[in-house]
């Protein structure tokens, strides 16, 4: 187990967005978080990555309690997230987007007296990462000019640059065309071989195909958990969420 949460709760001025949620994410597995809109999936992401503080509960990353750790520190410990809307640096080149991520572990972050060519040492690795996700032909273009699907792919390449232990993907397939979904599924599957992946996803075909473990959320609480076969047979889940779409 790499990441675990116990009794996670978050109140927003009296409204309980997430209530007593337990979650375990394992190495080498892809874990899906599904549920209707407003079920609290993104809130859980924000809690796990410390962008929000939990009202109560406990979070452990690789055996360390991170309940009160800063988001940047958590990222440095190996828990890296993507965002629902594509999180790239639009006015930087595609290559620079990846190099910014590589720059942090390299210790070049605060060197304000050196020229930008100090970053050249990161270029081979950055190109390699772009190659993995198939963006090598776009290295010098502005990231903001890429198509939506390719922005998401770039985001994954950037995330990969940090070599995270746990990868949190918030709706990686949202708004994607058919081929893009296939490409990203492939990338995610290969990523999960040596790290843990937790993803929020609405596309149930993708979830069924890709994920080893599924947690179903409703109104801030865990409704059911298990593999796809178990969860999809669960009566409450069928009523609450899947029944209408997947019969």
């Amino acid at each position: 187990m790499v990441l675990s949460a116990r009794g996670l709760r978050r109140d927003f001025a009296g409204f309980v967005a997430v209530n007593s949620v337990d979650l375990d994410v394992h190495h080498g597995k892809i874990h899906a978080l599904i549920g209707p809109n407003g079920a609290g999936k993104t809130t859980i992401f924000n809690l796990l990555t410390k962008f929000l503080q939990p009202t109560s509960g406990r979070i452990e990353l690789l055996g360390t309690d991170i309940t009160r750790t800063s988001p940047a520190k958590v990222a440095r410990m190996g828990l890296v997230r993507s965002f629902q809307i594509s999180a790239i640096f639009p006015h930087l080149s595609v290559l620079d987007n990846v190099r910014v991520a590589l720059q942090r572990p390299s210790g070049l972050g605060f060197q304000f007296w050196r020229s930008l060519s100090a970053l050249d040492e990161l270029t081979p690795r950055a190109r390699e990462l772009l190659g993995i996700v198939g963006l090598d032909d776009a290295a010098n273009r502005l990231a903001g000019d890429l198509s939506y699907g390719r922005k998401r792919v770039l985001e994954i390449a950037t995330t990969l640059a940090l070599d995270p232990k746990v990868l949190l993907l918030d709706e990686p397939m949202a708004g994607m065309g058919h081929e893009d979904v296939g490409t990203i599924s492939g990338i995610i599957r290969s990523l999960a071989r040596d790290r843990a992946v937790l993803m929020v996803e609405h596309n149930l075909t993708v979830v069924a195909d890709l994920c080893d473990w599924i947690t179903v959320m409703q109104r801030g609480q865990v409704l059911a958990a298990g593999d796809y076969a178990t969860v999809s047979q669960d009566e409450r889940v069928r009523i609450a969420y899947m029944g209408t779409e997947h019969e």
Binding site: P71, A75, H91, R99, V100, Q103, R141
Partner: protein, 327 residues
């Protein structure tokens, strides 16, 4: 692929053009005191450096400070006092002013970076007002009179700054060093992180960057360079007064940046030149300066929001460089 190479070529050509223009500008500044009243050009240069220091924060880090007069005026007071009361040489006074401004920047930045956007601006404004009232009350600033009659002295014991031309080239050197420092910081590994924070702060955090530290470092650097400008101005004009620590001064440096073009290296220099030039022209005409600058500000925001240099970049420089490349 063709699109990619086109963009690369365009960048290379416009970079060449930019360097050419910068070289031309430096030559013009070297020749300027023979044609224009040197004191006026020195004033422009001090404000231009101040505006560039401010741009480091607003243009390249995305932080709008409304308290930069503290660093400009604070450094002017420190430098003036050290030179006049303790008999320090001018270079030591300027360095002291710079260091003091950096320290003030550390305190103000430490408190302000906890908030974003308008709240950040309000905290800097509030702290700057506190500093203003401190300057009104503190005995060493000599209140409404200010510190007058600051001796220019001799730089490194060799260069007599009472000779106007000597003073001018020292100010020009300080200006160029300061602008080079801003350029270096912006185009450094550190500057890359600043840009990424400006572009998408949450993403920078999720990549593991403690953005607060980067913002604070940028704030202190900007404050120190604003201090360099203020301290130099105190030596040039031989006084330091309350004018330099008022909120109007903080506003003026924002105006210079907006007018010239935020996030361009040359924009703040052009903006500062225009504002200082306008103030000098109107000072003798009797027409209220604030009305003129206010009108210009409105026109600027309504018609060319990128600022003068920003618009030139967007409209002419890039396409022109592209066309020139084909020939």
């Amino acid at each position: 692929m063709s699109e990619l190479t086109l963009q690369e070529r365009r960048t290379a050509a416009s970079v060449r053009l930019e360097w050419g223009l910068v070289a031309l500008g430096v030559l013009a500044l070297i020749a300027a005191p023979f044609f224009i009243y040197p004191i006026f050009v020195m004033k422009m240069l001090c404000f231009a450096l101040f505006a560039c220091a401010f741009n480091l924060l607003l243009g390249y880090t995305g932080l709008l400070s409304f308290g930069h007069a503290t660093f400009f005026g604070g450094a002017a007071y420190l430098c003036a006092y050290a030179v006049k009361a303790w008999g320090w040489p001018p270079e030591a006074g300027i360095l002291l002013g710079m260091g003091g401004a950096a320290l003030l920047g550390l305190v103000m930045g430490f408190l302000a970076i906890r908030r974003q956007g308008i709240y950040f601006a309000m905290i800097t404004l509030a702290l700057a007002q506190m500093f203003y009232f401190f300057c009104v009350q503190a005995p060493f600033t000599e209140g409404e009179d200010g510190i007058q009659g600051v001796p220019r002295g001799t730089l490194f014991g060799i260069v007599d700054l009472n000779v106007t031309m000597n003073m001018y080239y020292v100010v020009l050197a300080i200006f160029l060093i300061g602008v080079f420092a801003v350029w270096r910081i912006v185009n450094s590994p550190f500057g890359m992180i600043l840009r990424s924070i400006r572009e998408n702060e949450n993403r920078a955090i999720s990549l593991g960057y403690s953005v607060g530290r980067y913002k604070l470092a940028a704030f202190v650097m900007s404050a120190a360079l604003a201090g360099l400008a203020g301290a130099t101005k105190a030596i040039v004009f031989q006084f330091a007064t309350l004018t330099d620590v008022t909120w109007q001064m903080s506003g003026e440096v924002i105006l210079m940046n907006l007018l010239g073009g935020i996030g361009t290296m040359v924009g703040p220099v052009v903006g500062a030149g225009l504002v200082v030039g306008l103030e000098n022209t109107l000072a003798t005409s009797g027409f209220p300066v604030t009305i003129a600058t206010g009108l210009i500000f409105m026109v600027c925001v309504l018609i060319f929001r990128r600022g003068i240099v920003g618009e030139i970049y967007a409209r002419w420089l890039a396409p022109a460089a592209d066309g020139g490349d084909k020939g």
